[in-house]
Amino acid sequence: MISTVVLSTGLALILIGVWGMLTHRNILRIVIGFSLMGTGTHIFIVAIGYVANGTAPIMDRALNVAEAPARAVDPIPSALVVTAIVIGLAVTAIMLAYAIRLYDSKKTLSIDAFTESKW
């Protein structure tokens, strides 16, 4: 149940991100839409790893080693998402760097001003 809720939240965030990227003309807003889409994907991946009534795969007083395989959630999606977050940060940094350069060339952040590569 709870994973369906989280999964739907992630998918809704992806949709909002796609919508934002397609409708807005400001490059910074497009970058924000892209980040929203990325965050939605992360939430989606984490939700897929949830096992019914599971808990975080960290052994402590609440979860001893013997019962962990029966009670822990899937650690692999979580480990993948750590990777994905870092790559998302990297892509965002590069996009923002290019946004700065584009602003320098036209003194505007509106994507309508950049018609050279438009077909």
């Binding site: 949709l15 397609l22 822990a72 750590v82 977050i85």
Partner: protein, 242 residues
């Protein structure tokens, strides 16, 4: 109008696919075989209480190494993209960027009080990566947040980029050396059992995982600090004039 209709159609079709996905998703009742194996093996063989850290820093540590390489390339790439800006600005003077406004007293005092605390918190996160939620990447990001606060409080402060890049390189080389040591004395590249696994759940346990966490935290913190610094306008013009 046609554009807007096309956007609505595209988003609606995406929504249809996603709605189908969400409606037919059945919550998993048990772990997949691979995940089960990881949950069993990480505490038993690696001695790490946090299974995710065990996967990230031993089983999939090679991926982590590649990921750090991506971060390094981004730091270099952002520098490349934004360094040309500095030279261009210098060739066309007249519109020099206005000097940043000094930070208010609240921000300055807050930074003085918070930066040491944030640094301690980052060290805590990094050192507890094998025991509870945390690890090198997260701690490195926290270090970088303290650098942002420092730069907000004092916009004229210049980061020692040479120090950052040397520290980062040394951390990267040590990371690879620990990995090679794993090939020689343990099971393979980046095997954490080059150091004794120790008592399960103790602060010094899980073999080389805490060491790798520290190196990763230092490396990520330095790389993110360099990326943050590259985005500051006045420094890139100085670099261009050098």
């Amino acid at each position: 109008m046609i554009r807007r209709a096309a956007i609505v159609l595209a988003v609606a079709l995406f929504g249809l696919v996603f709605a189908n996905l969400a409606a037919h998703y059945a919550e998993r009742q048990s772990l997949l075989p691979l995940a089960k194996r990881y949950v069993e093996l990480v505490p038993r063989d690696l001695g790490a209480a946090n299974v995710i850290t065990g996967i990230l820093l031993t089983y999939r540590a090679f991926d982590t190494l590649g990921e750090v390489a991506v971060l390094f390339m981004v730091a270099a790439g952002v520098g490349l993209v934004l360094a040309a800006r500095g030279r261009r600005n210098e060739s066309s003077p007249g519109e020099a960027p206005e000097p940043p406004r000094p930070a208010s007293e609240i921000v300055q005092t807050g930074a003085q009080m918070l930066v040491p605390l944030i640094a301690i918190f980052a060290a805590y996160i990094i050192m507890n990566g094998h025991l509870s939620a945390g690890g090198g990447f997260q701690g490195g990001a926290v270090i970088a947040s303290s650098v942002i606060l420092l730069l907000l409080a004092d916009p004229h402060r210049r980061l020692d980029l040479d120090f950052l890049s040397y520290t980062e390189s040394v951390a990267g080389v040590l990371f690879v050396l620990v990995g090679v040591a794993g090939m020689i004395v343990a099971g393979g590249f980046l095997d954490n059992r080059v150091l004794p696994v120790g008592q399960f759940g103790a602060f010094f346990s899980a073999g080389a995982i805490p060491v790798l966490s520290i190196l990763l935290g230092i490396k990520v913190g330095c790389e993110l600090s360099v990326i943050i610094d590259r985005f500051r306008p006045e420094l890139s013009t100085e670099r261009g004039s050098q």
